[in-house]
C-alpha cells in the first residue's frame, strides 16, 4: 500500500506539473511586465529545426555556424542596417526543435505565427513539412527560408525560398561537370565511348527522389547520359544492403552513382565501393547535404577517394584563404575555441550563410520601409512584414556574398519567380586523401517545367535568356 500511495502521489504531482506546463504554454508570448528599457529597436528571426531526427547530423554543425554568427552580430551591437559599421538593431532568435515530427513542426509554426509581431521570415528544415506549409505561408504572408526542397515544391513559385538550387538542378550540373571535366582524368575511372551511365542510389522519400525525374528527362533530351537504374536504400543502410546494389550496378556497367541523401549513406556506399574494388569503374556523387569533409572524417582517406559533391559555399579544408573561410575561422576561435580542430567545416559555412542571407533580407526590407514611408529605423522595425522581406529583401539578394561564404555576383534569385538562392556551385572532391575544389564556380542548369512558362511564370528569366534548358518534371 505504501508503494501504491507513493506512486499515486507521483502520478498526481506529474499530472499537476503537466497541467501547469500546458497553462504556461497556453499563455501568449507577451513581454515580461517589468521589461528593462530597450535602447535599440528589435527584429526577430525564427527557425524550426531538426536536431534529433533524420537531419540532425547536418543540422547541428549548420546551427553552430548560424548561432555563432548571431552571437557575433550581438557583439557588434546588433545588425548594422545603415552600413556605418555600428550595430543598429537588436536581433532576437526564436527557434523550435521538431525532431522531424510533423505534428511538432505544425505546433511550432502555430506558436511562432501567434507571436506579436507576426514573424516575417522563418528558417525551416525538412521537405515534406515545408511543402505542407506552402499554402499556409502564402496565406499568412510569411517567408520560408528552406534548407532544400523537392522539385515540385518550387513550382509554381510561392513564399518558400530555398538555400540551394533544386536537387534536380544540382545533380544535372554536377554530373555534367563530372562528365566534361573529371571523367577519364585520374584518379577518376577511365572514359568509354557513349553516354555516361548513371544510377541513382538514394532514399525512397520526396527528398531522395528529388533528382531522379530531372536527370532522366535531361538524359532523354540531351543523350549525354543514360539513367540505367534507380534503387532505394534505408536511412541508415548497412554494408550488405549497399553491396547488393553495387554488385548489380557493376553488372550494368554503371559509371556514376548519384545519391540524394545525407552523409551517412554516401559513407556506406564509399566504404562498399572500396571494399569491392569498384573504384576504378564507378564514382559516387552526392548532393550538397553530404559534404566531403564530413565523409572523409567518417570513412578515412582511402575509402573516400574520388567522392564528389557540388557546394554553394567556399570549402574551409581546401580554400583557407577565402575571406568567408577566414571569417568563419574567426567565429570559431571566438565562440568555440575547443572545436577549432574540426570547425569550420562546410556545414558550419552554410549555417553562417543561411543566417546572413536571412538578416540581409531583413536589413534590405528595413531600408526600403524607411525610404518608402519616410520613417526612422524603430518605426520600420515595427512596420516590417513578410511581404517586405520577400519583395524588398530576399528577392533582391542576387550579388550578395554572405560575408564571403559564397561567391559574389553569382547568387540567385535570378528573376521574380525564382525561389532558389543558389545559381552557381563548385565541385568539391576527395583526391589524394584531401578535400579539393576541382572546378571554378559554374552555373547550374536551369530546369523549368514548360507548363510553368505556359502559365506565365519565369517570363523575365526567359526573356533575359537565363533559362538554358526546359524540362518536364514528371508527377
Amino acid at each position: 500500500m505504501k508503494g501504491n500511495k507513493l506512486l499515486s502521489t507521483i502520478t498526481i504531482i506529474g499530472i499537476v506539473a503537466l497541467v501547469f506546463l500546458v497553462a504556461a504554454c497556453a499563455a501568449p508570448a507577451a513581454p515580461p511586465a517589468k521589461k528593462p528599457p530597450v535602447k535599440k529597436p528589435r527584429i526577430i528571426i525564427h527557425n524550426i529545426i531538426d536536431l534529433t531526427g533524420a537531419y540532425a547530423p547536418i543540422a547541428i554543425p549548420s546551427e553552430k555556424g548560424g548561432k555563432d554568427y548571431l552571437a557575433w552580430i550581438a557583439d557588434q551591437g546588433g545588425l548594422d542596417v545603415d552600413g556605418d559599421g555600428k550595430g543598429d538593431v537588436e536581433v532576437e532568435y526564436h527557434w523550435a526543435e521538431f525532431g522531424n515530427v510533423d505534428a511538432r513542426f505544425m505546433a511550432a509554426y502555430k506558436r511562432f505565427r501567434m507571436e506579436k509581431p507576426k514573424p516575417t521570415i522563418i528558417e525551416m528544415w525538412s521537405s515534406p513539412n515545408q511543402e505542407m506549409l506552402k499554402p499556409v505561408l502564402e496565406k499568412d504572408k510569411i517567408v520560408c527560408y528552406g534548407i532544400g526542397f523537392s522539385d515540385p515544391q518550387v513550382f509554381p513559385p510561392a513564399w518558400n525560398y530555398m538555400d540551394c538550387a533544386t536537387y534536380g538542378e544540382q545533380a544535372v550540373g554536377a554530373i555534367e561537370y563530372y562528365m566534361d571535366h573529371m571523367w577519364g582524368n585520374p584518379p577518376f575511372p577511365p572514359k568509354h565511348p557513349g553516354p555516361l551511365r548513371v544510377a541513382h542510389l538514394t532514399w525512397d522519400t520526396a527528398y531522395g527522389r528529388g533528382p531522379i525525374g530531372p536527370t532522366k528527362m535531361w538524359a532523354e533530351m540531351t543523350g549525354k547520359i543514360e539513367v540505367v537504374a534507380e534503387r532505394f536504400c534505408t536511412f541508415l543502410p548497412t554494408d550488405p544492403e549497399i553491396m547488393g546494389f553495387l554488385k548489380e550496378f557493376d553488372e550494368m556497367g554503371v559509371d556514376l552513382i548519384w545519391s540524394n541523401t545525407i552523409v551517412q549513406t554516401p559513407a556506406v556506399i564509399m566504404k562498399a565501393l572500396h571494399k569491392m574494388g569498384l573504384k576504378k569503374k564507378m564514382v559516387l556523387g552526392a548532393n550538397l547535404w553530404a559534404p566531403p569533409d564530413q565523409l572523409l572524417d567518417i570513412v578515412g582517406p582511402e575509402a573516400a577517394e574520388t567522392y564528389f559533391t557540388p557546394q554553394p559555399v567556399y570549402v574551409p579544408a581546401a580554400q583557407p584563404d577565402e575571406p568567408g573561410v577566414k571569417f568563419a575561422r574567426m567565429l570559431v576561435e571566438k565562440y568555440r575555441p575547443g572545436e577549432a580542430a574540426t570547425l569550420p567545416n562546410i556545414q558550419y559555412m552554410r549555417g553562417i550563410r543561411m543566417k546572413a542571407n536571412i538578416l540581409e533580407s531583413v536589413r534590405r526590407a528595413l531600408l526600403h520601409i524607411m525610404e518608402r514611408d519616410g520613417v526612422d529605423l524603430a518605426t520600420a522595425c515595427e512596420r516590417i512584414t513578410g511581404k517586405d522581406v520577400k519583395e524588398h529583401g530576399i528577392q533582391t539578394l542576387a550579388g550578395y556574398d554572405a560575408h564571403g561564404t559564397t561567391c559574389a555576383l553569382q547568387m540567385a534569385p535570378r528573376g521574380k519567380d525564382d525561389r532558389c538562392l543558389t545559381s552557381h556551385q563548385q565541385q568539391v572532391a576527395i583526391i589524394g586523401g584531401k578535400v579539393q575544389v576541382v572546378s571554378p564556380w559554374y552555373k547550374v542548369a536551369r530546369l523549368i517545367p514548360p507548363e510553368m512558362l505556359e502559365k506565365g511564370y519565369f517570363k523575365d528569366e526567359e526573356e533575359a535568356g537565363l533559362i538554358n534548358r526546359h524540362i518536364i518534371v514528371p508527377e
Binding site: L7, L21, E63, F98, G99, A103, M132, V136, T205
Partner: protein, 354 residues
C-alpha cells in the same frame, strides 16, 4: 482491481447494471468535461488548438490499437501505416474521384479496415512475436505500395488536400473550426469504442486475448474475431488519418514511420492495456510530452545551459521519453489507467486505509 462504487449506489435493473455512468454526478461531470473541451473553441489560441487537434487524431488512432492489442491481444507494430492508409485514402479520393472531404472520411475508415482485415487474417495462423513480424511486414508493404503507386498516390511527393467545406456556417479552415470537427470525431469514436468493448464482440475479443483455446471451446470463431479486431482497429486508424490529413491539408509518406508505430505501442503500455481511458491517457501523454518536453523543454534548457548545449538538450528529451516508458514498465505495467483506478479507490475509501 476491484471496482468500488460510490456509497449507496445500487442497481435495480439490468439497464442500470449495464450503464457506463450510474449517478447524476457522473453524468454531470462528464457533460461538464465535454463542455470544457468544446469551450476551447472560444478561448484557446492557435497553438493550443493545433496541439489539441493532433491529440484528438492520435486518441482515435490509439483507441484502434487498444482494440487490436489491448482488447483482442493481437500485437500490431504496423499501426502507423494504417493511419497512413486513411490519410492517403482522403488524398486519393479527392484527387482522383473529386470527392468532398466529408465523404472521404468514412471511406478512409473503410479502406483502412479492409487493409487491416487482410493483414489481420495472418493472425489466424500467427501469434505473439510471429504476428508482430507480420504486422511489421504490413508496415513496409503499405509504405512500399504508397511510394511506388505513383499514378495514384504521387509517390513520395505527397498529395494536397482541400480543407473541409463549411457546414452550418462553420469554417473548418480555421484552427478553431477544425478543432470542433476533430473533437467531435474523437468523442464519437470514444463512445463507439467504449460500447464495443462492452458488446458481445468486445467480450469475444477479451476472451480470445485471455485464452483463445478456451474461447474457441465456448464457440467463438477465433479467425473471424481476430480479423474483425484488426479491421475495426484499422478503421479507427483510418479515421484518425482522415482527421489529421484534413488538418494538414497535405499528406506525405514520411509522416507515418515505424518509429510512430513503436511509440503507439509504447504509449499504449504507459496508458494501460485493455482500457479506453488507458488509450486516451496514453495518446494525450504522448503528444503532450512530444510538444512540452521534446520541444519546449529543449528550448528552455538551451536558454539555461547556453548556446553550446542547445543540441544536447534537444536529445535529452528523447532520453526522458524512453525513461518514462521504462519506469512504467517496471513500476506500473498496467499503466495510467490502473493508477487512476487506484487514485479513485483511495478517494472513495478515504479516510479508511482498507
Amino acid at each position: 482491481m476491484a471496482i468500488h462504487r460510490p456509497c449507496g449506489t445500487f442497481d435495480y435493473s439490468y439497464y442500470q447494471s449495464k450503464a457506463i455512468l450510474r449517478t447524476r454526478l457522473q453524468w454531470g461531470l462528464l457533460l461538464a468535461f465535454i463542455a470544457f473541451l468544446y469551450s476551447f473553441y472560444f478561448w484557446a489560441n492557435e497553438y493550443i488548438l493545433s496541439l489539441l487537434i493532433v491529440i484528438c487524431s492520435f486518441v482515435i488512432g490509439m483507441l484502434g490499437l487498444q482494440i487490436i492489442t489491448g482488447y483482442a491481444g493481437q500485437i500490431s507494430i504496423g499501426h502507423a501505416a494504417f493511419l497512413g492508409v486513411g490519410m492517403y485514402t482522403v488524398g486519393c479520393a479527392e484527387a482522383h474521384l473529386g470527392l468532398n472531404y466529408w465523404w472521404t472520411v468514412p471511406l478512409a475508415g473503410l479502406v483502412a479496415a479492409v487493409v487491416g482485415g487482410v493483414f489481420g487474417s495472418t493472425a489466424a495462423k500467427l501469434k505473439e512475436l510471429y504476428l508482430a513480424f507480420a504486422t511489421l511486414a504490413a508496415h513496409f508493404i503499405i509504405v512500399y505500395v504508397i511510394s511506388n503507386w505513383r499514378s495514384m498516390t504521387r509517390g513520395t511527393d505527397g498529395i494536397w488536400i482541400t480543407r473541409p467545406t463549411p457546414i452550418l456556417g462553420l469554417d473548418f479552415g480555421t484552427e478553431a473550426g477544425y478543432y470542433l470537427w476533430a473533437l467531435t470525431a474523437c468523442v464519437l469514436m470514444t463512445y463507439f469504442a467504449t460500447n464495443l468493448s462492452r458488446s458481445k464482440l468486445g467480450r469475444a475479443f477479451v476472451a480470445v486475448r485471455d485464452n483463445d483455446i478456451a474461447a474457441n471451446v465456448m464457440g467463438i470463431n477465433i479467425v473471424y474475431t481476430k480479423m474483425v479486431a484488426f479491421a475495426i482497429g484499422s478503421f479507427f486508424a483510418g479515421i484518425a488519418g482522415a482527421v489529421l490529413s484534413g488538418y494538414y491539408a497535405y499528406v506525405n509518406i514520411e509522416w507515418f514511420t515505424l518509429d510512430d508505430s513503436i511509440w503507439f505501442l509504447g504509449f499504449l503500455v504507459v496508458g494501460g492495456f485493455g482500457s479506453i481511458f488507458g488509450a486516451i491517457s496514453g495518446a494525450v501523454l504522448w503528444k503532450l510530452l512530444d510538444e512540452l518536453v521534446a520541444s519546449r523543454l529543449s528550448e528552455m534548457l538551451s536558454g539555461v545551459l547556453g548556446t553550446e548545449a542547445f543540441y544536447v538538450s534537444a536529445a535529452f528529451s528523447l532520453i526522458l521519453y524512453a525513461l518514462i516508458i521504462i519506469v512504467f514498465l517496471v513500476f506500473e505495467p498496467r499503466g495510467i489507467a490502473h493508477r487512476w483506478q487506484i487514485i479513485k479507490a483511495s478517494y472513495r475509501l478515504w479516510p479508511f486505509s482498507y
